[in-house]
Symmetry: D2
Subunit: 352 residues, 4 copies
Amino acid sequence: MGKNGRVQVGIVGASGYGGVQLVRLLMDHPEVELVYLGGESSAGKPFADLYPHLAHAVNLPIEAVDAEVIAQRCEAVFLSLPNGLACQITPILLEKGCKVLDLSADYRFSDLATYTTWYGTERSDQSTAATAVYGLPELYRDRISEAQLVGCPGCYPTASLLALSPLLKQGLIVPETAIIDAKSGTSGGGRQAKINMLLAEADNSLSPYGVGRHRHTPEIEQICSELAGHEVKVQFTPHLIPMVRGILATVYATLRDPGLVRDDMVTIYNAFYRNCPWVRVCDSGVYPQTKWASGSNLCYIGIEVDPRTGRVIVMSAIDNLIKGQAGQAIQCLNIMMGWDETLGLPKLGFYP
Amino acid sequence: MGKNGRVQVGIVGASGYGGVQLVRLLMDHPEVELVYLGGESSAGKPFADLYPHLAHAVNLPIEAVDAEVIAQRCEAVFLSLPNGLACQITPILLEKGCKVLDLSADYRFSDLATYTTWYGTERSDQSTAATAVYGLPELYRDRISEAQLVGCPGCYPTASLLALSPLLKQGLIVPETAIIDAKSGTSGGGRQAKINMLLAEADNSLSPYGVGRHRHTPEIEQICSELAGHEVKVQFTPHLIPMVRGILATVYATLRDPGLVRDDMVTIYNAFYRNCPWVRVCDSGVYPQTKWASGSNLCYIGIEVDPRTGRVIVMSAIDNLIKGQAGQAIQCLNIMMGWDETLGLPKLGFYP
Amino acid sequence: MGKNGRVQVGIVGASGYGGVQLVRLLMDHPEVELVYLGGESSAGKPFADLYPHLAHAVNLPIEAVDAEVIAQRCEAVFLSLPNGLACQITPILLEKGCKVLDLSADYRFSDLATYTTWYGTERSDQSTAATAVYGLPELYRDRISEAQLVGCPGCYPTASLLALSPLLKQGLIVPETAIIDAKSGTSGGGRQAKINMLLAEADNSLSPYGVGRHRHTPEIEQICSELAGHEVKVQFTPHLIPMVRGILATVYATLRDPGLVRDDMVTIYNAFYRNCPWVRVCDSGVYPQTKWASGSNLCYIGIEVDPRTGRVIVMSAIDNLIKGQAGQAIQCLNIMMGWDETLGLPKLGFYP
Amino acid sequence: MGKNGRVQVGIVGASGYGGVQLVRLLMDHPEVELVYLGGESSAGKPFADLYPHLAHAVNLPIEAVDAEVIAQRCEAVFLSLPNGLACQITPILLEKGCKVLDLSADYRFSDLATYTTWYGTERSDQSTAATAVYGLPELYRDRISEAQLVGCPGCYPTASLLALSPLLKQGLIVPETAIIDAKSGTSGGGRQAKINMLLAEADNSLSPYGVGRHRHTPEIEQICSELAGHEVKVQFTPHLIPMVRGILATVYATLRDPGLVRDDMVTIYNAFYRNCPWVRVCDSGVYPQTKWASGSNLCYIGIEVDPRTGRVIVMSAIDNLIKGQAGQAIQCLNIMMGWDETLGLPKLGFYP
């Protein structure tokens, strides 16, 4: 227990965009005290060396990563590391009683064979992975509330699955017709110096990438298959958009019942997300924009039905670094701790 | 005949982005002399009042629109007007022997009933419309060469049809599975003061619009149906992207023959566009970016096949104001005049 | 007194960017209840018609403006109107006992002759204007605490004066050498459809405007003169930057004492702003970026001394819509009400 | 002599933005044949590996740098290398009779002591440096026409000096009052992966840098001193702007004769640049925007006089990669070869 009875938490991998987002969000959280920042390449530096504008607000150093130390000081820890690293320290953290929220892909797959197929590395921690819960609260709130290890969803899967879930769960669409055309701001690429992410290259431009083979595909398919009750393959195409934050997923699928109209769908979605404080279903005829969600943990969903083609088109907008990453992890922590799901999370961004 | 034996041309609707693009491009054209600029709201002003940075290069005034005068002074005229206006002067221009290149939707439809359904106005010039050729040279070069009236394609249809045509013409896909997810810079909205096009609103954001009902849909369908040999409905969804220029169309369709691989498709596309100087098929594994096409009349096409889903994904990138509008109109003029199709058009933009 | 003993406040001119910013900020304020939204052009509409993404959070209508009604329902009111309108209702509001925070230029000048010179309209409310306090808390905290009417500073003057004040107050510079080269995102132009503010025009570009005659000049000069103890003229040049939010003012002035070095200046600034929670003086050698301040009420100040030229260069960065407008007005309200100056205001934005 | 009697030229350092700009521009040049591309890190690769969209237009490989080989194959060569490398091969190139246009800082200074002070490296080629001409044609056309070695100006000095030269040459200002507040798009930072140049960091933001110590300062001062006839120190502050291309320099200086008005200045500037095809002086009351110059070799200059302060404010806008770099180098080549100064250079960009 920390100051004022707050729960002490830590962040491993604090230097990247996921890390700084967690730092920033946790500072506003009324039940949490941030006591530990860990990292490899920046170990030993004050956090404020990386983000000088936060110097007045954060005076923690970045420490070398030592699972024993973390478990001793933190009741819960967020792992914001490149894929393949979380699985090296998670077993120890769990053994010492620490709650773990992993933001990488390491614990998103119930079957590690899928992980190995798409991420190219063998894993020997299937028993640990089997205990992980997929951290999408709108679908798995109950399981998350009892989990010690949560594998937080990727940014694209969050937007995609929130758009698709009601359709699949209710059997409204032909699952194999699902096509997800997703668009993301460049912050999704992380705080790494890459030429294609330079403003000079990425601004005034628009690029598809990873067509037919992006690693978020199996993650989306795993959940879609579970919802549909049988194996589902989806088409997923990401695009790089000249903006900093935000994801819009435009999802297409053929309706089983061509008689359904837009208002029906809005009603169905509202019912599905009735108890979900972080999902806003737009009124009939309104489509979401990424700017609406920017700076908040909200997902806005808009729905259209095209009677000419028999398809439903669902558009979901999130802030890729909040609902798509750090905010959602905190939403999961809230649930794991038995707190209100909305605690400490930004309800509204600034506009414009 | 004008100076140095050049062909005298005019532009009606010179004040908008289509107009200024035509002005700029025609100034570099070796066989053309721009002698007339027309407009309604800005009639009487020097063109340079609207675009001060062109003051040293263009000293034409904008004149009130008078079809008789235009026909007298111009061998060919570009109409860059809001929908529904070109059809008011075109019959006179044609009668007087003027070649007409209309950039609006007025002469894109062989059947005006389709126009009326989607654009909401009755038309009485079916006989004129029946003589119009759809100005997509990669498909209709021969007809354009003999036309007096060309209905130039919309920006989205240009990108969409160049991506889809080889597939439909060769019968490679199931036509009704075609989905076009298109993304455009905001210059496509024209030089009109609209709140949703303000930088403060549109920057850092991404918005779908016109889902299932955008007016470019019937235009795409008309040509797709002709290529397929039967009526085809396509799903078309435009999105507003925070950049000035460029369109990327991401096109999805189910292959009839699941055995086709990416290299097959690249070969097929290269063959299809063999004689098309303005289409560049990317090497296998390369996807286009809009920045590549910016400032040129080129269309870059990249192709992927996803064996997991049996779909082909085709991505086409153009500059919406050049190949998607003014450049393509000049390409048509070149063909109508019997000139080289590439004459006076920019082959490469600047990068980055 | 409103719900839970909260103070009831209203906003007149709720539809613009100043309005939506106030709405958003006041929703997080623990001591305030927003009970009234007023406007002319949008009177009768629900606020959510203008900002659909706020539909779940704000269900107030926009009402026609009636000073009597406002004063009856609100203890304090923010006026976010075009220049020249606030002065029409303020006298009534004050008479009825309402606290007034005006975000326009109407009550920024102690001498209305200056207003008339620069804004071109005669005014007859000098007696009211004489009671107004200039709402820059870092300079006038005490006067604000006793004011009933506050004329909140413009966005440029806020950034400029926070950069210049220590220099002038301490007599460190030759006042007439002060040059302010200021750069602003386009949201400063408001939510009005203007062609030069379109993304297509303003993106990828950079424009100076109002050189030598911008209306924020006399406002800056009035305060500079007061600080210097004699009349001061400053050079002020604003520029439009292709971004949504943020102002950076780069201020140049010749030092009286050429022996002063950068560290001296940092010490002096830190001392000057010691009790100012919303000003952050950067460490020696660090310059601020507008992104740091975005989404917060902070002003970051960086300082350089150039021994080669004998000049000090001060750079200040703010969010033009928060510290430069709505946030600062709420900071003033906090002081007027005797609350902590930081109450309900965002301490940190999101990065990147 | 190359194909069709064209002059054979080469580029060393072809992989960066300066290189690709030169490649692109030289392809349009009617008197030049590009026969050689050299580079270190990318030696052995086809140029099109770096810029795939140019694959159809450029099929030269990048070769390892060998001065003897270059001199044998090229009549003139552009060196677009990091500072400190050009001086290693230039003496050999000159000796073999090759014309050299260096885009780095190596040959911008008549006195290498200045170079050493600001760039930190000793140099032993003072005799070579003494033969170099500063490649700003508007000032040194005659000397350039007779030069074998041209040290092309930096991007900021180009914009700054074109704004300042008439004032200094005519003795209109007090030289030591000159302040240059310059703003640049991020392409000025080159095609190198740096975190502060990522879109996620640089977009939506605005940063001053190198205040009081940017390396372009001595270059500006060298020419200003020459124009003024005595040593002049200027204040120069660069800023990073969230756009790809363009520089705007806002220059402030105190007029010697306070009676001069704006129209006088416009007349003086027009006279000064009468024979300069690449400088456009804006009409009185018009200020330039960077978008106007984008994609052309033009420099637009706007002038204001503030009678309140006795200062002149001059604003110059260029495309930093064309007039600020590659275009200007070609302009110099044109002059060295006795060709028309405008040959092969873009007269107008596209708008918007």
